[in-house]
């Protein structure tokens, strides 16, 4: 008992020393297991998970399931493509095509009809064909302008009009892009049905391509035979149909985001959509050029639906002969069907 009495005054001091020693030693001891190993150092870390699973993903309870993905390296590839390669692809395609057409115009000039007008009009496109063309054309122009805004807008337009105006314009451009896409898809579908038969390859295409359609003959004497559509028009047609289908399918993925694809699928759809889109803009610029300034009489075919007989003979001689053969019994004087 006397020993206890002697110890009692120093009891609190002893306890404090023991506690302090425990606090100092405990963290070091906690890191080591019974065998002396360090379980934290040996556990799977974030980098290993990323390498094995190709993404870092967890579990969430909010309705936005895709928010569970924290990291996925392909997103960096997509961003690199979208911010780096895509503007270059688009710029080279669009500006390159404009440059080529400008050079072609200054060297070759406008392709004129060699013969005088015959004064006889031939029906080239009926009302349904022209309506389909102009509905699709209207939609495509809206889609092209608003689509190029996605790629170049913040680089070219925003410095000019400021972030507020650019934000408002881009929001409306996005709506226009979404809504006009349906007119474009419908137009592509109807175009394919209307013109696929006349755009199948035929025996005149090879020769037409070999002589470049006569486009590079400055004497304007080369007019290779062609049926209703020549090889150049067929290339435009198939570019529009195949490109249009690619744009439509990839566009539907984006119109209904994450309904048919995960984040990687969405990025793939955007990549396809953007590349095909800028390439198609370049192709259609060439189509617009040759259909307006580039060739005399070409616009009338899709504007009024009729062309002069001599124009048709120069550019689509085989078609004129076939039309004449069809109408010969009733109208022997004028081979093709005269327009009213």
């Amino acid at each position: 008992m006397q020993v206890l009495k002697r110890v009692r005054p120093i009891g609190p001091v002893l306890a404090a020393v023991v506690l302090a020693f425990g606090l100092i030693v405990a963290p070091a001891g906690a890191q080591e297991g019974p065998s002396g190993s360090n379980p934290t150092a040996q556990s799977v870390n974030e980098q290993q998970l990323l390498q094995e699973l190709n993404k870092i993903q967890g579990r969430i309870t909010i309705p936005d399931a895709k928010a569970a993905t924290l990291e996925q390296p392909r997103g960096q590839d997509f961003r690199s493509f979208h911010e780096g390669a895509l503007p270059w692809i688009g710029g080279v395609a669009v500006l390159g095509m404009l440059l080529v057409l400008a050079l072609f115009y200054f060297i070759r000039g406008r392709i004129r009809t060699r013969s005088q007008e015959a004064g006889v009009k031939v029906v080239r496109f009926n009302a349904l064909e022209r309506l389909t063309h102009w509905v699709t054309a209207t939609a495509f122009i809206v889609l092209a302008i608003t689509g190029l805004n996605f790629v170049f807008g913040k680089r070219l337009l925003m410095p000019l009009i400021g972030p507020d105006a650019f934000s408002a314009w881009s929001q409306w451009a996005k709506y226009a892009h979404d809504f006009f896409s349906w007119a474009f898809m419908l137009g592509i579908l109807v175009m394919a049905v209307l013109w696929v038969w006349d755009n199948l390859p035929d025996r005149y295409d090879g020769h037409w391509l070999r002589v470049g359609g006569g486009f590079f003959d400055t004497s304007n004497r080369t007019h290779p035979p062609a049926a209703r559509f020549n090889a150049g028009q067929k290339l435009i047609f198939w570019s529009v149909i195949i490109g249009g289908i690619a744009l439509s399918v990839s566009g539907l993925f984006m119109l209904f985001p994450f309904a048919y694809a995960d984040v990687n699928g969405m990025q793939l759809a955007q990549t396809i959509h953007a590349v095909v889109g800028v390439l198609m803009v370049a192709v259609i610029i060439a189509h617009i050029y040759i259909g307006t300034f580039g060739m005399e009489g070409a616009y009338q075919a899709m504007g009024s639906g009729t062309v002069d007989l001599n124009w048709a003979k120069e550019h689509h001689s085989v078609w004129v002969e076939k039309q004449g053969a069809k109408t010969e019994p009733s109208q022997p004087a004028a081979p093709p069907t005269p327009a009213e």
Binding site: I62, P63, D64, A127, R130, L131, H133, W134, V135, A137, T138, A139, V142, K154, M158, P163, D164, F166, S167, Y175, A176, D178, F179, F180, S181, W182, A183, L186, L255, F256, G303, G305
Partner: protein
């Protein structure tokens, strides 16, 4: 020219119809993904702030700096 204008009108009509269809079928993400516990409400304005330049290198990403806590 008449057929060109008709084509433009038809394209606009299809676009308006598609707009109504899509507006009826889809909801904005802030509405579709909201829950009772996590809700940002109708953003109504640009969330990055009026001073956003769009240039990631400029360092200007927010309209206002956080206020200093009153001591």
């Amino acid at each position: 020219m008449g057929i060109v204008l008709t084509g433009i009108v038809v394209a606009i009509a299809i676009a308006i119809g598609a707009g109504y269809f899509m507006s009826a079928e889809q909801r904005p993400s802030w509405e579709a993904y909201s829950t009772q516990s996590t809700r940002v409400g109708d953003p109504g304005h640009n969330l990055v702030g009026s001073a956003w330049t769009g240039d990631p290198g400029s360092g200007t990403t927010a309209a206002t700096e956080p206020e200093e806590p009153s001591s």
